[in-house]
Symmetry: C2
Subunit: 362 residues, 2 copies
């Protein structure tokens, strides 16, 4: 395997270094995984927990699972979801039994939609969108949280295994609703192991690590039950167009939704924070400060699949040959193609929801 | 209706007065209910919440429900359960739709039994014992907590309606397991209203009032949903044989279990705290301090159904004509008859569990 150490590192690395240290994560090593995907190769996947266990499962063809959830409030997802799907896809292609749950209970409790509305939204939009982004529905087991009484029953049991102070230490605070969400999520994460104990990996944005940590604490507290500690795989935040650590819906200019009107997205890209210099003369002379450039980060994380193509852009931009206006044009063009493609594929996948494998509960 | 103001009050009244004040309860008024049962007539049922609503339902033949739960850990119940059953029976006879849930989740999470074991214990013992004590199975709808996903799903929603501080204010503390139990109990209490909103009454020992209070707080927080505030009916603790406020299993000498070997029960009764005087001479002269007498309390609460018979014992004991040895003999004899009867009826009811109406969930 060609060894690639993230050659296009961003200025946010310092923040991620702190996260790794504070949370006690292991740094992601792409050598562990055969044919790493774009996110793994480029250090967008940057950390994990117990990744060697999953690496061994892949290499020795042992049974393991990958699991993620869908939160169906309204008909939009974002680039963070895209990364999760791409990582699920990777493990699907490398032998994982796959589970995607629809968190209709959480949507109903926090977004004021009914369970039926949440389920409908998931079927009409989220699942087709996931398929559009690469989820292999033939290999995926779906369930609705509200129908999985095994999960709820175990959540009840798991809640007794932690103290309020331990919960606060992980989450910072501990409101009853948050505790309920968290213990149900623990049960979701362990659900594939209820019938058969096996390793599993949960690919998430690093802000979701507390759920993995809580699950691992609870598993450790119940050693006799023989659950495997779930492994975690963490990707960075999608590039916030205005250069803050994280895209946020409260700041729409920082954020790209899927789908979103491409004119609007391009307008945001045109205004994005770049590493271009103040004058063209200076830019030609010094080149772009790429580590501060959100548009390059967008290309790197999402829009340029081919490493050599990215390398070329990197060199030209860094040398000053390419201007920030030019890189924005590239990003807009590629984004338009991606968005168009995404919308079409979602539409197509919507017609195939009868092929979904939903787990049915007695 | 013959008006009876608890003529046989016990020395614990002061404690109960404080409870009524601290919890903001209403004092129980037997005038509200037609043909009050023994516990209501004698002030053993001493307080409640929103009792007039239930009184009106009975008088105007409006639909309402009574609900209670069974905690099936091991094959014993106690006199507190007996009081609950007698009060359920009262409301069953006065038109209530009746629900008894089996808290198998709680038993599994806190007592280390499996759900299957908990369910089996409920079917083999608790439900037959409840029938032996008067539960009308023809009028009772049963369900297993672990099978009622509607309850779990609503519990998830309800958890979001309270803050940690509110929870602490009601329960004194707030561990995750306690929060989980409590919100599931809230959902159990409201379950009969999920399909059809109606008033309901929950007969419990007064120590269970926090659950009623939490439920009422959550209902108030969700006014749009139109739930009726559940009413509460509170009975005193069963007489602790050594004179403390509450029987406790950690002090077996204070406590009578159902069933329990009658020799052993009589031995405890013989050692019980009475209001008898130090010498026979003194006793004949001053009479018993009945308000401190746990054996009389046992007769009053549980063993003497007929008011005139109790009145006679009261007068003779209070006047000193009857000694504490004699009242203990009466109690032993009546307890032997009760226990014998209970065991036989439980055995008989065990053969009728095929007649139980269990709610089935999709």
């Amino acid at each position: 395997m060609k060894k690639i150490i993230d050659p296009w590192g961003s200025g946010l690395l310092e923040d991620y270094g702190r996260i790794v240290k504070d949370f006690g994560l292991e740094l992601f090593n792409p050598d562990l995984f055969p044919n790493p995907n774009r996110l793994m190769r480029r250090g967008v996947v940057f950390a994990g927990r117990d990744l060697e266990i999953i690496s061994n499962c892949i290499k020795e063809k042992k049974k393991f699972y990958v699991l993620s959830g869908i939160m169906p409030s309204y008909e939009k997802i974002h680039l963070g979801n895209k990364m999760v799907v791409e990582n699920i896809r990777y493990f699907q292609e490398h032998g994982a039994v796959s589970y995607v749950l629809v968190a209709d209970l959480e949507a109903a409790a926090t977004r004021g939609v009914s369970l039926e509305e949440a389920q409908k939204t998931a079927l009409d939009f989220h699942i087709p969108a996931y398929v559009a982004l690469g989820l292999d529905i033939k290999k995926t087991n779906f369930y609705f949280q509200s129908e999985n009484k095994e999960v709820m029953n175990r959540a009840y049991e798991f809640a007794k295994k932690i103290t309020l102070n331990e919960f606060k230490a992980i989450y910072g605070s501990a409101e009853p609703g948050k505790i309920m969400s968290a213990v149900v999520q623990v049960a979701d994460i362990l659900f594939p192991q209820f019938k058969e104990r096996m390793p599993g990996i949960i690919p998430v944005g690093v802000d979701q690590d507390p759920h993995i940590r809580l699950t691992r604490d609870i598993v450790n507290r119940m050693k006799k039950k023989g659950f495997f500690l779930p492994s975690g795989l963490y990707h960075k935040y999608a590039p916030s167009l205005n250069g803050t650590l994280k895209m946020s819906k409260s700041n729409p200019e920082s954020c790209i939704e899927l789908p979103e009107d491409i004119q609007q997205v391009c307008r945001k890209i045109k205004k994005a924070k770049t590493g271009g210099r103040d004058t063209l003369e200076e830019h030609r002379k010094l080149g772009a400060k790429i580590e501060e450039d959100m548009v390059f980060e967008l290309l790197k994380q999402h829009l340029v699949e081919d490493d050599e193509e990215l390398d070329k852009i990197y060199m030209e931009y860094k040398s000053g040959k390419m201007t920030s206006g030019e890189i924005k044009d590239i990003a807009c063009e590629k984004m338009a193609k991606f968005m168009n493609d995404f919308v079409k594929k979602t539409e197509k996948a919507r017609k195939q929801t009868d092929k979904l494998k939903f787990i049915r509960f007695k």
